[in-house]
């Protein structure tokens, strides 16, 4: 005689959220004359990497201005008001580095 497998119900223990998809901001047509924000998360060499990147973007791609922000710690979230300020001041943001 076939044995029916015993079925147990369990209460889903994990996240069931389905994130609302967000749309990426349109990519820029050119970096010429733009302002670039660089977010240094305070990991060692993030500043060196970003400084060089900013220099190259200005030298070779016509970036007009580079704005740098250094986080107090890589392990702390960006304060919302700082992010809002950078977003209003800059055309794009580059965040580095893990790890």
């Amino acid at each position: 005689m076939a044995v029916t497998p015993h079925v147990t119900h369990v209460v889903h223990p994990a996240a069931e959220d389905v994130r609302e998809p967000s749309r990426l901001a349109p990519r820029l047509a050119t970096l010429q004359g733009r302002t670039i924000g660089l977010i240094d998360n305070h990991k060692r060499n993030a500043d060196v990497y970003l400084e060089e990147l900013g220099r190259l973007l200005q030298a070779h791609y016509g970036v007009a201005r580079v704005v740098t922000y250094r986080k107090i710690s890589q392990s702390l979230p960006m304060p919302g008001e700082v992010l809002d300020h950078l977003a209003s001041e800059c055309d794009v943001l580059i965040h580095a580095v893990a790890d």
């Binding site: 369990v10 996240a15 998809p21 749309r23 970096l31 990991k43 060692r44 060089e52 990147l53 580059i94």
Partner: protein, 433 residues
């Protein structure tokens, strides 16, 4: 910009934010140990990829993720699983929902029994846990508490601990994703310790005590399953430590020579609280030669110094190391006329490292401390914490000449919550209303 060791974590986080196509530039790992020239070379090497991410249209106009948003149901769904309890355990493990140890399947009846001991309704939202940003409901916590083996009587403590880690200054998302291997340490103080039998004596930080083992485990399973940081996703601990399974203990009220911890922290004697800190591990010292209280403290503090202790580089956030004095050491320290505050002052004054010894070691490149220290001579003594009240001193454990300390994970601050009483019941405690 990330290094290749973080590729998967970055993709997962982008997914959690609803931006799976977010541009990411990957460079060779690890950047942190490269020379200046090498780091600049990597910048040059990644320049084109960075520009491509900024100016190339990665998505056709109007195209977004295919995932359709759905309202989150107020109650958890039920899953049907076939087979024996062993098969159910295999299923839960395969989903990534356990810590590797067997669990009790969270069946609806067991979860209901847990919820009957809850001071809060099942559907109440306590917050969201990063990095996956899962919504934490009381019912979800109850499901994880069942899996952890909790008895319903312990559930109010679990809820208080979960509410504590959801406080913003605790920084739960970074704690579960750091390479530093942080785990929550739950300290319980107040009358509930005796009521529930939360252990505070012999082998207090070891195994064998159900409330301790299951309360800490329920918190960790909740963080794992609602926060979503697992080793194949966003958990990046280089090592981690066994506190990631569970770590919960109580102050030894009978052998604490001072006023209770929760009273010292400003609560009434009849109130019970949890204090949750994030720790990188546990270090136990022996001092069985000194008889005076000060000798015990000298030996303890000598084990709190070292170039590899991250707290010396990271005072900015005010993270709290926890010192657990064994009752014999505590009694001798008290007999020497020192109160808990004097112990904190002593540790504050003596747990220090010369800045010259810290330079170019440990987390020097990412140090986060008062600006004035940048200009100090090499013999300037950097304190482990900037304020003695940042330290937590607890008396716990059994007989023996040992004390311990938990080095803090640095980008956190402790969180406290009052343990709310379970709902009133009739004469038959725990019966359905």
């Amino acid at each position: 910009m990330i290094t290749h060791a973080f590729t998967h974590a970055a993709q997962q986080r982008a997914q959690a934010l609803g931006l799976p196509a977010h541009p990411v530039v990957v460079v060779e790992h690890p950047l942190a140990s490269k020379t200046r020239d090498q780091a600049q070379h990597l910048a040059r090497h990644s320049l084109e990829a960075v520009v491509h991410g900024l100016v190339a249209h990665r998505e056709a106009p109007g195209r977004v993720s295919q995932v359709r948003p759905q309202p989150r149901p107020a109650r958890a769904s039920h899953l049907a699983v076939s087979g024996t309890i062993s098969d159910i355990n295999d299923y839960l493990y395969d989903q990534g929902w356990t810590d590797g140890l067997p669990v009790i399947p969270p069946t609806p009846d067991l979860v209901s029994a847990m919820l009957e001991a809850s001071p809060l309704p099942a559907e109440q939202v306590l917050g969201t846990l990063p990095p996956r940003d899962g919504t934490v409901t009381v019912e979800k916590v109850a499901s994880n508490a069942v899996m952890a083996g909790c008895q319903p009587a312990s559930f109010p403590v679990v809820l208080a601990a979960v509410k504590a880690v959801l406080q913003p200054q605790f920084n739960a998302g970074a704690i579960t994703t750091t390479t530093g291997g942080a785990a929550p340490v739950v300290i319980v103080s107040g009358p509930i310790v005796q009521q529930l039998g939360i252990h505070s004596g012999t082998a207090v930080l070891g195994s064998g005590h159900r409330p301790n083992a299951t309360i800490g485990r329920a918190l960790r399973l909740t963080m794992r399953n609602l926060g979503g940081a697992t080793a194949d996703t966003m958990e990046k601990s280089t090592h981690g430590w066994p506190g990631k399974y569970t770590m919960c203990f109580a102050e030894n009220a009978a052998r604490n020579p001072w006023e209770p911890l929760h009273v010292e922290l400003g609560f009434a004697p009849e109130v019970s609280i949890v204090v949750v800190v994030a720790a990188r591990g546990l270090i136990t010292i022996v001092e069985s030669s000194q008889e005076a209280g000060l000798g015990n403290l000298e030996t303890l503090v000598s084990a709190m110094r070292g170039e590899g202790i991250s707290g010396y580089y990271y005072q900015a956030r005010g993270a709290s190391p926890v010192v657990v004095l064994g009752p014999e050491h505590a009694a001798e320290i008290a007999a020497a006329g020192m109160g808990r505050q004097a112990v904190k002052e002593y540790i504050f004054q003596h747990a220090r490292m010369p800045v010259g010894q810290l330079r170019d070691r440990g987390h020097w490149g990412a140090r986060s401390w008062p600006e004035a220290w940048e200009h100090q001579p090499d013999d300037f003594l950097v304190p482990l914490v900037t304020n003695p009240d940042t330290l937590l001193v607890v008396v716990a454990g059994g007989d023996g000449r040992h004390s311990s300390w938990f080095p803090a994970w640095s980008a956190t601050q402790w969180a406290m919550e009052v343990i709310e009483a379970p709902p009133e019941r009739g004469p038959r405690a725990g019966a359905r209303p």
